[in-house]
């Protein structure tokens, strides 16, 4: 069935309003749309790593989640959901479940809880092959504790633990490519997406991830107005710029086969994405042209590599 935004938006919300995420935060937009991809008759068990999303949406007895929700600690969302999925399978095997519809297992983690401290649990869960989806909402730093750098922070971004000053131009290291790490787990479905336009790309990838048997991984860009320093109303524009500059390519890998889902007709220079954010302001000082050039080269290199991976399918 072709994607129809109006119809999708009319589905009952499984991630409700009233949570405490910031205005202009990318994460709740992403979460709502992903959960809309669930069939209304299906159930979901949600696990979340410690982070903004978890502390802002689930302070018992208040919960923004219509589905079952489990949180244990920072490093283990993937392990926790693995256990829940294993228990569910065991109970079903012994005929102890007689509910209608399927039960889906979805874990959410920020980049700190996924790229860094949670990567061991994530890798283990994917390799074991649980029927689950792990969603990383990547906002490129530890936003919950006050904007510390993570391995997902882009090069030269200003954070509280990679501060810009006399000795430093922000984070000195490249951003880790987690999507490729997950591709190399050779699981059935891996995709990178973002909330752009009518959210079609995000929805369709969520649907595939959820309804593909076995482990699936989604890496979703989730801009943060506080950490990235943009106006709340600019969220969708920032998402669009990330994609149009090929800083955050939209692609998927199904059984090892690459498809780049969006190739901008007019690939914008990465400065268009960078200058929209306060965390890169220092790069536009005179004398830092070289740094901008380095970022552009890195974006180009990764984009070209991706295109060649698609071409060599």
């Amino acid at each position: 069935m072709a994607y129809n935004f109006k119809e999708v938006a009319r589905k009952p919300e499984r991630f409700t309003g009233g949570h405490r995420m910031c205005a202009g935060c990318g994460a709740p937009v992403v979460i709502r749309q992903i959960l809309r991809a669930l069939k209304p008759e299906d159930h979901a068990v949600i696990s979340a790593a410690t982070g903004c999303l978890e502390v802002s949406t689930f302070l018992y007895p208040y919960s923004a989640w219509k589905d079952s929700f489990i949180h244990s600690a920072f490093e283990n969302a993937a392990a926790t959901i693995s256990g829940a999925e294993a228990a569910y399978n065991g109970m079903r095997r012994r005929g102890k479940l007689d509910q209608e519809g399927e039960t889906k297992f979805i874990a959410f983690g920020g980049d700190g809880g996924t790229y860094d401290i949670g990567i061991q649990a994530l890798s283990g869960a994917m390799e074991r092959g649980h029927d689950m989806v792990y969603v990383c909402y990547d906002n490129g730093a530890y936003m919950n504790t006050g904007i510390q750098r993570s391995s997902a922070t882009p090069m030269f971004a200003d954070t509280t633990t990679s501060p810009v000053g006399r000795e430093s131009q922000g984070k000195n290291q490249r951003k880790k490519d987690l999507t490729e790490i997950m591709v190399n787990h050779h699981i059935p479905y891996v995709a990178q997406t973002a909330a752009i336009g009518n959210l079609k790309d995000l929805y369709e990838k969520a649907e595939k991830a959820i309804y593909t048997k076995g482990p699936a991984f989604l890496n979703v860009l989730a801009p943060c107005p506080r950490g990235w320093r943009y106006e709340a109303s600019d969220l969708m524009q920032i998402n669009k710029l990330a994609v149009d500059t090929c800083f955050w390519p939209l692609y998927e890998v199904v059984e090892g086969k690459y498809t780049v889902n969006y190739k901008p007709k007019n690939k914008l220079p990465v400065v268009e994405f960078l200058k929209a954010q306060g965390r890169f302001r220092h790069l536009f000082k005179k004398g830092n042209e070289e740094l901008l050039d380095m970022i552009q080269k890195e974006v180009d290199r990764r984009w070209e590599r991706l295109l060649s991976l698609e071409a060599s399918n």
Binding site: T50, H71, S72, A73, F74, E75, G112, D116, I117, I119, Y142, T145, G146, Q148, R149, S151, T160, T161, S162, P163, G165, E167, S168
Partner: protein, 352 residues
């Protein structure tokens, strides 16, 4: 004395580490101590040191292990859930006899708990949170000034005995701003670190740092040696503040933040004709048993007040060894006792 500044407790810990000659800090974000990392991310490069943010608390403490093995003064900091993750390596540090300083700005538990102040990690710190028969020195400051002085001291103690020293505070101490007066120069214990792994340069036998001893006789001897060292620390490093205990009707035992509240209770009680004393252990291990023994017979009873369900209470009881009655008052979950609550407990004891 040197310059006087108004600073938060977390910043002071960070600055004190630099002044104590620490040039390697390995951190990971967790509330309410992340300001230590923020401060050192800026300050370490200026001081020619290294600030590294690890990918997890486990990685951070193991970086400390590596730096310490190379002979450096190294520190990590975290808060309760993060300290739990570090326990494995804390045991390894003890086994390998590597000096290290660990800051725990305690928050209320168990589990994810909350981010508010608590003293519920007392057992974990004092009785050994990791595996094996080991001890670490635990320092419990009660002011920003003391955070400064004890942080410097922590590095000296760590180097002197090749042990781990923990500075245990809470969110009140970490986040609170107070005046701190820095010394112009710190007294730094100049340890012989000929054991460190610095490369032989083909000029000496290679050094070896380990905590694995497969031969049981050798491992027992190693354990005996550790225990001997711990006895020496008990003899030399006990620190305690004894306040107003002569002729006291009731002596309160409290550490850290709670001791500050108790000092105000003492004034209030005095106005009501009750003489209250305070024994404030500054080292939670080694525990100041002698101070308790000295005053064991003085008051009608002892009252231990803590931000937990009664942990130091057990050490107070062991110290008194039945010589006097002991009572307990505690708040948990980030609740802080008001002065009146503590005074009411004292009055109840007076009526008994």
């Amino acid at each position: 004395m040197g310059e006087k500044l108004l600073m938060s407790g977390n910043e002071v810990i960070a600055e004190a580490a630099i002044r104590a000659g620490c040039r390697f800090y390995f951190g990971y974000p967790i509330t309410p101590q992340t300001e230590i990392a923020h401060y050192l991310a800026k300050r370490m490069p200026e001081a020619g040191g290294t600030f590294l943010q690890a990918e997890s608390e486990i990685a951070a403490i193991n970086m400390v292990y590596g730096a310490s093995a190379a002979g450096a003064r190294a520190m990590t900091s975290s808060s309760s859930p993060g300290i739990s993750l570090k326990q494995e390596c804390i045991s390894y540090l003890a086994g390998a006899e590597l000096p290290a300083v660990i800051v725990n700005i305690v928050r209320c538990g168990p589990g994810l708990g909350g981010i508010l102040p608590a003293q519920c990690d007392y057992f974990q710190a004092v009785k050994g949170g990791g595996h094996g028969d080991y001890k670490m020195v635990v320092l419990a400051p009660c002011s920003v000034q003391e955070l400064y002085e004890l942080t410097v001291e922590a590095f000296n103690i760590a180097d002197r005995y090749r042990v781990t020293v923990m500075i245990m505070g809470d969110g009140i101490l970490g986040q609170m701003m107070e005046i701190v007066e820095f010394r112009d120069e710190e007294e730094i214990f100049n340890a012989d670190k000929s054991w460190a792994l610095t490369g032989t340069g083909m000029k000496r036998e290679n050094n070896f740092i380990t905590s694995i001893y497969i031969n049981p006789e050798v491992l027992e001897a190693h354990n005996r040696k550790l225990q001997q060292k711990y006895r020496e620390i008990e003899r030399n490093e006990c620190r305690v503040e004894v306040y107003n205990c002569e002729n006291a009707d009731v002596i309160v035992a409290a550490f850290g933040t709670v001791a500050r509240i108790v000092k105000n209770v003492i004034k209030q009680a005095e106005r009501e004709g009750i003489k209250v004393g305070l024994i404030r252990p500054i080292t939670l291990w080694p525990f100041p048993n002698e101070a308790f023994l000295k005053y064991a017979q003085v008051p009608r009873a002892f009252l231990t007040v803590e931000l937990n369900a009664g942990q130091m209470l057990e050490d107070v009881k062991l110290a008194l060894n039945g010589a006097n009655k002991t009572y307990f008052y505690g708040r948990m979950g980030g609740m802080i006792p008001a002065q009146k609550e503590i005074l009411d407990e004292i009055k109840k004891i007076m009526e008994k």
